[in-house]
Amino acid sequence: MIRVVHYINQFYGGIGGEEKADVKPEIREGVVGPGMALKAALGNEADIIATVICGDSYFNENMEEASAAILEMVKKYNPDLFIAGPAFNAGRYGVACGSICKAVKEKFNIPVVTGMYIENPGVDMFKKDVHIVETANAATGMRQAIPAIAKLAMKLAKNESIGAPQEEGYIPRGVRKNVFKSERGSKRAVDMLVAKLKGEKFETEYPMPDFDRVAPNPPILDIKKAKIALVTSGGIVPKGNPDRIESSSASKYGKYDLTGVNDLTAETYETAHGGYDPTYANIDADRVLPVDVLRDLEKEGVIGELHRYYYATVGNGTSVANAKKFAATFAQELVKDGVQAVILTST
């Protein structure tokens, strides 16, 4: 019997939503939540003997302590296989799944598998270290994700040979494997070129890695004269959320006038973000968007000026394409308005 330990977050563990995202890890015997379907998909040769549950915020804010505690818990059950998630597009959950899988693999040298949506930040962080099955972006994709994860996990547990990412459904790990092809490379390359010239579809045999990096700009020479703008992905909006920015998968951003605003209060500002416990930001939004402090620094002459407008969106399952588009648009306005530096806050 293949002994499996499963990792899930506080939500799937039935402990609670964002208000419980700070719970410390615990381990329970047997299956919990999605473990039920996973157990069924794994078949008769494997059994989920225990489930680790940990709050997403706790894990991300205390990665080292959380990992160490979980490794201790997992050790007692002596598993042959470790499965985490799936996390879909939940960022903190994905980071937790990837990082605990990596830790378990390194510590116990057993196969590990998790599942995520391609844009989950956990993918870029851990795709080289662990097998991540590509899933839909939301839990509605659970029915497809579970069998795919189970299948790959069983293959790994039985030490069977693992095929290419497309065949097995995992996200490419950047591993190159030698294979025999019936046609030589030069012919394949010319065929591809011809297809490309004709505007036909072709598949490269060696996709170039996507290094989308922007070099740092030179520093501000005289911060005392600088006009500084605030931007946040933490969803801080005027009370009532006038632009109706979505609590997740935001399709827009807001631009808000700070003229005469010296302090964000519970009566005037709130968060529209649905991916963290809003209690603290709703009581005092300065905890996410530090307008009060910047006004003080402006008065004291530490900075030149706080820009009249701030920009906000909700960074919760929001697609990279949207976030890029929002920022590309408002960055032009920042340039036009003579903003010299930006402080961007994220939750």
Binding site: R92, P218, P219
Partner: protein
């Protein structure tokens, strides 16, 4: 978003709690924050202490904006 702002030539500092995510996303100037639901605050503190804490993080962010860097840099606590 940090990259798009940096791309137009404006230096940007990212104040965030989960630094590894910021590094993955490609922020260049990173200042670690307190906690996910209150990156620039701590509800357990008195109002005055909390504001002083927030001020210290913002000052660190300003310092980061004034610092010449040659690659991704985390301005530690």
């Amino acid at each position: 978003m940090v990259k798009e702002i940096e791309r137009v030539g404006i230096p940007v500092v990212h104040i965030c709690t989960v630094v590894p995510i910021s590094l993955t996303v490609g922020a260049n100037r990173i200042v670690p924050a307190i906690a996910i639901p209150h990156p620039l605050g701590n509800p357990a503190m008195s109002k005055e202490d909390e504001k002083a804490l927030r001020r210290s993080i913002v000052l660190k962010a300003l310092k980061a904006l004034e610092t010449e860097i040659h690659g991704q840099t985390v301005f530690e606590k």
